[in-house]
């Protein structure tokens, strides 16, 4: 039976658990995009733990499953932790993250049960999601496709080519969420090249674009529900904090792509859990 959390307390508890597991896994491996994973915890938790996504861990290729595309493949630690937690892959596979005898590494690979698309390069997911959504309509299927993009990923022209396509073909069964943490690798997005006004940009491309607090259970649930019943393809701009949960790592470019080590690791654990190691 898949989890179906329906209250904020349980939801926040699950999000905390996911963050702790991601941190633990990445510290042990000495690598992994911790802050990129942390900004979208609530988004993925909303999809996988509240009954929104239809899936079967015992049958990852179940034909009528909803599809989830993690286009920002650097958040793979989060997805792997979540898939292990739900039973798609063995829980102890997390101990072998980035190990020679492990199942997976820093970016996303689609031979891991539950992973739909290999990702690591950026700008692919929206178009791939469009292809899956379109084929779903071709086959008269009713499953949905959810796609999470990074906001830095929206610099890629391929995203905008696909956005035009999604709008033109009115792929209402494709729901996209942008993890808008306002940071790239080197700097804040608005200091590099303006992405804002991002919502207006997507709206001008014909999409139903909505901005929300990406860490809010209520806003995520409400908006996802509306998105699944919209007569236009929806893109949710989820405003988030990169590294949310570990204050000294929050919203700092230099923490992109890194797992804290040594004293930083101890500090990260303490700030996240309120306890020592």
């Amino acid at each position: 039976m898949n989890p179906s959390i329906n209250n904020i307390e349980e939801f926040q508890k699950k999000c905390q658990e996911l963050r702790e597991k991601v941190l633990q896994m990445c510290i042990k491996a000495g690598t992994g995009h911790v802050t990129s994973s942390f900004s979208c915890v609530e988004i993925l938790a909303a999809l996988y733990y509240t009954g929104i996504l239809k899936y079967d861990p015992a049958n990852p290729k179940w034909e009528d499953r909803d599809r989830f595309i993690l286009s920002k493949g650097q958040a793979s630690p989060l997805l792997y932790v979540l898939l292990a937690d739900l039973g798609f892959c063995p829980k102890d596979s997390l101990n072998k993250f980035c190990c020679s005898d492990g199942l997976f590494g820093v970016h996303l690979q689609n031979d891991v049960p539950g992973v739909e698309m290999t990702a690591g390069s950026l700008g692919h997911g929206l178009g791939v999601g469009a292809g899956i959504a379109l084929s779903s309509k071709m086959n008269n299927k009713s499953y949905k496709v959810f796609c999470v993009l990074g906001d830095g990923e929206c610099y890629e022209g391929s995203i905008w080519e696909s956005a035009m396509f999604v709008s033109h073909y009115n792929l209402t069964n494709l729901i996209t969420i942008v993890d808008r943490n306002a940071l790239c690798v080197t700097d804040y997005t608005e200091k590099i090249v303006h992405l804002d006004p991002l919502e207006e940009k997507f709206k001008s491309f014909g999409l139903n674009a909505i901005s929300i607090n990406g860490h809010s259970y209520d806003e995520l649930m409400d908006t996802l529900d509306k998105a699944m019943n919209s007569d236009k393809p929806t893109i949710i701009i989820a405003n988030t904090i990169k590294g949310k949960g570990i204050p000294f790592m929050e919203n700092k470019p230099l923490w992109h792509g890194l797992a804290p080590q040594g004293e930083d690791a101890e500090r990260a654990i303490k700030e996240l859990t309120g306890k020592g190691e």
Binding site: G127, V128, G131, I132, S135, M138
Partner: protein, 310 residues
């Protein structure tokens, strides 16, 4: 068949395949063809025009293929691979998806359109990708068969079609499964050619033969994976070999054959004819451009004759 272009021959066959299999989807980046008019009319649910948006085409193809569709992408050759190469790399190649990219305009097919439309580097770009099968058609009978060959191939494929009407070498009933065809045997030198240059090789062979040089001709139309056993046999039994391609020398057919000779520890002397490291802004038709880059029949004949010391 001789009056049908490679492109129309290919799509006529693909139409028949797609009519029987609803999972065959053709995506075009705003490129048409007379043969596609019927496809679009009769199979409109199996045809998508994405506009001049090759990245959209590639990612859309990926999503469709991940969901069980057999997908074809189609554009002018210079754009179908190069413009969306990274997406083909990470999606088609890395995930080993059954997607066939079809390009029209091999070599200098688009002659007077200039180097933006000269497809002279795409073999290099596609050959370097793991899991990729590359076909280079030399006539319309072969082109027609490549529709079936690519349909039955569950790996990413790349089909190169010439724009010009080429003389027929083959019939539809020929066996194309080997990827290589020893068209003519000759004891002094074997010319291994691909695409348009197969026809040039036949003409060069005729001229060389007239001067007493017995010349063989091989059509190497599946550039990847190479048919290593047949190629090895040809190389071992050839006194000397010359490759002919309407493509940059860096990374094309000649490179593939040269690499194979080295890796197989063969001693076959090899001379490579192709386009040196340069773009050509030249007009007056394809033959004029070929002459400028040293690929005229007379130049090739002369250089081979000198090489053989005759």
């Amino acid at each position: 068949m001789e009056k049908i272009s490679m492109r129309d021959a290919f799509f006529d066959e693909l139409y028949k395949i797609a009519k029987k299999d609803k999972d065959v989807i053709l995506i075009s980046a705003d490129m048409g063809a007379p043969s596609l008019d019927k496809y679009r009319a009769d199979l409109k649910d199996q045809f998508i025009n994405v506009g001049i948006a090759e990245q959209s085409m590639a990612t859309l193809a990926t999503g469709l293929a991940l969901n069980g569709k057999k997908v074809y992408t189609y554009a002018i050759m210079t754009f179908v691979i190069a413009r969306c190469w990274e997406l083909i790399r990470c999606d088609f190649s890395l995930m080993k998806l059954p997607i066939t990219s079809v390009g029209v305009g091999a070599g200098f097919s688009y002659d007077d359109s200039g180097p933006t439309h000269h497809s002279t580097d795409d073999i290099t770009l596609s050959r370097v990708l793991p899991n990729m099968t590359i076909f280079n058609a030399s006539d319309s009978a072969m082109a027609a068969n490549l529709a079936e060959l690519s349909y039955n191939n569950n790996n990413p494929c790349y089909v190169r079609l010439d724009r010009a009407l080429q003389p027929l070498i083959y019939s539809e009933k020929d066996d194309y499964s080997t990827g290589i065809n020893h068209l003519k045997k000759g004891k002094d030198i074997t010319l291994i050619a691909t695409g348009n240059m197969v026809h040039r090789a036949m003409e060069v062979a005729e001229k060389l033969s007239a001067s007493g040089i017995e010349t063989g001709v091989v059509d190497l139309f599946r550039i990847k994976p190479l048919n290593e056993s047949v190629l090895k046999e040809i190389l071992i039994n050839s006194n000397k070999v010359a490759t002919l391609e309407e493509h940059f020398l860096i990374g094309g057919l000649g490179s593939a054959v040269g690499e194979f000779i080295l890796d197989s520890n063969l001693n076959t002397p090899l001379k490579r004819f192709g386009i040196k490291d340069k773009f050509y802004y030249a007009y007056g038709g394809r033959d004029n451009i070929l002459s400028l880059c040293g690929l005229s029949i007379d130049t090739i004949t002369k250089e081979i004759t000198q090489w053989l010391g005759k």
